[in-house]
């Protein structure tokens, strides 16, 4: 049997909800795919679309952006900005011919350890099915360098 593809998933998330939710998954000893690596920012509003593009360019196969539920942002409404930036990000991805499903936005609260696990696993599976991103060959074929 051929070895299955292990996608690399970057998680850019806020400190207060999603990072804490992932902590809860840990303290509850839930299990999920080891493919994800978290990069912490204070608020999801800090997540610059260029971070996502850089991660993909560098070699990540998928990126998860995550923060507090819409009314629960620790900084009142930083996540609204995240939400508004997201469609722009998808347009950028489309220009590069990158599948939408590689970049996902999720609201995961500090008490939703189970949700974090679910999303981490789903994301890994989805991207596994899509296969390696292989940025270089895509951009060579695409229009932007």
């Amino acid at each position: 049997m051929a070895e299955q593809f292990e996608p690399k998933i970057a998680v850019l998330c806020c400190n207060w909800c999603t990072y804490a939710g992932a902590d809860l998954a840990g303290t509850s000893r839930m299990k999920y795919a080891p493919n994800v690596r978290l990069i912490r920012t204070m608020c999801s509003g800090r997540i610059d679309p260029s971070f996502v593009m850089t991660a993909l360019k560098d070699g990540a196969d998928g990126v998860l952006i995550a923060g507090c539920h819409p009314a629960d942002c620790h900084y009142i409404n930083g996540n609204h900005k995240t939400m508004r930036r997201f469609p722009v990000l998808h347009t950028m991805l489309a220009q590069f011919g990158i599948e939408r499903d590689r970049v996902r936005l999720e609201w995961i609260s500090a008490s939703e350890g189970d949700r974090f696990v679910e999303v981490a696993n789903e994301m890994t599976e989805t991207v596994r099915k899509l296969g390696p991103l292989d940025w270089k060959s895509r951009t060579a074929a695409g229009n932007v360098a």
Binding site: K8, A10, N15, W16, Y19, A20, A22, D23, A25, G26, T27, R29, M30, K31, Y32, P34, R37, L38, I39, R40, T41, M42, C43, G45, R46, I47, D48, S50, F51, T54, A55, D58, G59, A60, A71, D72, C73, H74, Y75, I76, N77, G78, K81, R85, S109, A110, S111, D114, V117
Partner: protein, 658 residues
């Protein structure tokens, strides 16, 4: 700012076997040694222990480290510990970074190879960021020396008194018109059987008269702003239509009012007037007019009450008022609710009239209650037999999965009280007897001596469909006596349901207002289940009592006192450190477009007219970094999470080697 060449030290924690059981810590330390700018790496059993922290301090001095990384648990757990250790060695605490290889790695993965690989990656990411870390200055602000307590049950009252007695001001907000909470509804309390009112009323009065406590009953929290040490709270004081400064609480208006409504305090078992006190010993004792029940508000006529009010205390144009309070700490003590006893429908509540709830029994047994303390059926007869059904909705995956923790004990209490007042045979249908507290097992023994019948088996259903003559006119309980392996039908005259304690219906809303998390059972989530039982996800907001989970009065009071002590320690400290990792503008890059101003949730960004650039007010900025992600000119630096640092992490994790 120019730094010397980075000299990074990496410390890998075993956390006993918590990390080392899955992650090969030796490999992680070895890999760290090969990472850029790392001059020292070692692993140790417990980094957070004293010797562990000493290791950090010593290494900083010995290896002239100017960046420190500890790969251990979550920074949400021990970042403050290691920042302190770093500072003790004379290094700026912001030159420290943590790699979370426990919560995000060893605890969530089972494949040792993959977990070790991931741990190495996480260290790599931290090392990459550390290279660009910059020292930051800690800043302090004063703490507002006042505490807000939300909820005036016994938890809130206890916390209020403890704080007030220590000399600090308290605002106690209660949404009902009297403080006291559920405990005020109880008749006797287990296991000592002291009368609930006798021990609670003095505390209520003390709270009302205390010079340091401002009581705001019939009030609710509208909005909470600010942060630890400096919260601004808006409180809605509902219209009562009676001026509390004028009213003498004589109660003549209550006597004269001709209109009635169902009494919630009496659990709907009796009526009260449209102008009323929640219960006779209510504190404060000033009545309120229930707008929904009052005829004057319906048709403009009546005012019977006012005619007899000698001091002229009625204010028919009274309106809700919003008041603002500044406080340094908040204690949430909003208590519990009970599951709708109709939900486990098999027990016939609502259909079979002699099926009642525990809290209804409390009222029935109380001398001021609907039956003046006589234990009687709805027909007014003394019951010959009573069944108490445990675990109604509790420990039940169809309803509440958790144990409500007080029902076994109050079931015993009820059994005793029934035995005391009537000749009835009393049955307890239970799954397990949980009598864990001080004096509780002894109380159980006492009840065995009193001849109460215990049937080990959960009641399956209650019916009035008789199969035999003996069952005619009775309520019949079907249950298996599991110790015998026999299914019984037990005919009784009265059934008391020990229905589950639940979170308040508005718990989600309250949690959001105060920035508290909730556990899967819906109760408020403490910061750490063992070590920080009264703190929450939001600094300066604490929990007390049953809003955090089901508990009895002793535990509730203990938690109230605990919350008081942590709130006090914050107030006494006098100052709190505020975010050093704020945003800053690089003047040369700013084009003055002001886009950042729109996105800042705290309006912390001003505009310097002369230079035509944005300017950040550090005391308002909370460091969310939204502006930095928005600035089209990359002119804003989110300190401690700047572009350079985050991109370095991304490169470290994903850039292909070579």
């Amino acid at each position: 700012m120019k730094n010397d060449d980075p000299r990074i030290g990496v410390f890998v924690c075993h956390c006993g076997t918590n990390i080392a059981g899955i992650v090969n810590v030796d490999s992680v330390a070895a890999a760290a040694r090969t990472m850029p700018f790392v001059v020292h790496a070692e692993e140790y059993k417990f980094m957070c222990s004293d010797p562990g922290q000493a290791l950090v301090r010593d290494a900083i001095l010995k290896h002239r480290l100017n960046r420190v990384i500890v790969a251990a648990c979550s920074p949400r757990m021990h970042e403050p510990t290691f920042r302190k250790a770093t500072a003790l060695a004379g290094l700026n605490p912001y030159l420290f970074e943590m790699a979370n290889i426990r919560e995000h790695c060893s605890w969530v993965h089972t494949d040792k190879v993959a977990a070790t690989e991931k741990a190495i990656d996480l260290v790599k990411s931290a090392v990459a960021k550390a290279r660009y870390l910059e020292p930051l200055e800690s800043r302090y602000v004063n703490v507002e020396p006042k505490v807000l307590i939300v909820g005036g049950g016994v938890a809130g009252i206890q916390a209020a008194l403890d704080i007030a007695n220590g000399g600090t001001k308290v605002v106690l907000v209660e949404r009902q018109q009297s403080i006291g909470g559920r405990m005020a509804q109880l008749d006797k309390t287990f296991p000592t059987l002291d009368c609930s009112a006798c021990i609670l009323t003095p505390k209520m009065v003390q709270a009302a008269q205390h010079p340091n406590i401002e009581l705001m009953t019939y009030s609710e929290i509208e909005e909470v702003k600010g942060y630890v040490g400096n919260f601004t709270v808006r409180i809605r004081r509902k219209a009562t239509f009676i001026d509390p400064k004028v009213c003498t609480a004589c109660g003549v208006c209550i006597d004269k009012c001709p209109w009635k409504a169902t009494s919630s305090f009496e659990e709907g078992l009796s009526k009260r007037k449209a102008v009323y006190r929640l219960f006779p010993q209510a504190v404060p004792g000033i009545p309120v007019v229930d707008k929904d029940a009052c005829k004057y508000f319906e048709n403009g006529k009546c005012k019977a009450c006012e005619k007899f009010c000698e001091p002229h205390a009625f204010r028919w144009d009274d309106q809700d008022k919003i008041v603002e309070e500044k406080v340094g700490a908040i204690i949430v003590a909003t208590g519990y609710d009970l599951i709708d006893p109709k939900l486990p429908s098999q027990y016939g509540y609502g259909k079979l009239k002699n099926v009642i709830t525990g809290i209804e029994f409390e009222r029935i047994n109380n001398a001021t209650g609907p039956t003046a303390g006589k234990i009687v059926t709805k027909e007014g007869k003394e019951p010959e037999s009573v069944a108490i059904l445990h675990c109604i909705g509790s420990r039940d995956r169809n309803h509440c999965e958790y144990c409500s923790r007080v029902c076994c004990m109050y079931a015993l209490k009820f059994a005793h009280l029934i035995k005391e007042k009537t000749k009835a045979t009393v049955y307890n249908f239970y799954i397990d007897m949980r009598c864990f507290g001080k004096g509780y097992e002894e109380f159980y023994h006492r009840l065995l001596e009193e001849g109460v019948k215990f049937i080990r088996g959960k009641a399956a259903y209650v019916t009035d469909q008789a199969l035999t003559d003996a069952e005619q006119g009775k309520l019949i309980i079907s249950a298996e006596a599991t110790t015998l392996g026999k299914t019984l039908r037990v005919p009784v005259d009265m059934v008391i349901l020990a229905n589950a304690m639940t979170p308040q219906k508005d718990a989600a809303d309250v949690a959001r207002k105060f920035g508290i998390g909730r556990s899967p059972d819906g109760f408020f989530l403490e910061k750490h289940p063992k070590l920080e039982p009264v703190s929450t996800a939001t600094d300066g907001v604490y929990l007390a009592g049953t809003c955090q989970g089901p508990k009895d009065i002793p535990d509730t009071v203990a938690q109230g006192a605990a919350a008081a002590s942590v709130a006090m320690s914050l107030i006494q400290r006098g100052t709190v450190e505020v975010e050093a990792a704020t945003a800053g503008v690089i003047d040369d890059l700013c084009s003055g477009c002001k886009i950042c101003q729109d996105v800042c949730p705290y309006s912390a960004i001003g505009y310097e007219v002369d230079k035509r650039i944005a300017e950040i007010n550090a005391s308002l900025c909370k460091g969310c970094g939204t502006c930095a992600a928005t600035c089209p000119s990359s002119a804003i630096v989110a300190k401690h999470f700047n572009d350079q640092q985050i991109l370095a992490q991304i490169h470290a994790l994903y850039a292909q080697e070579g």
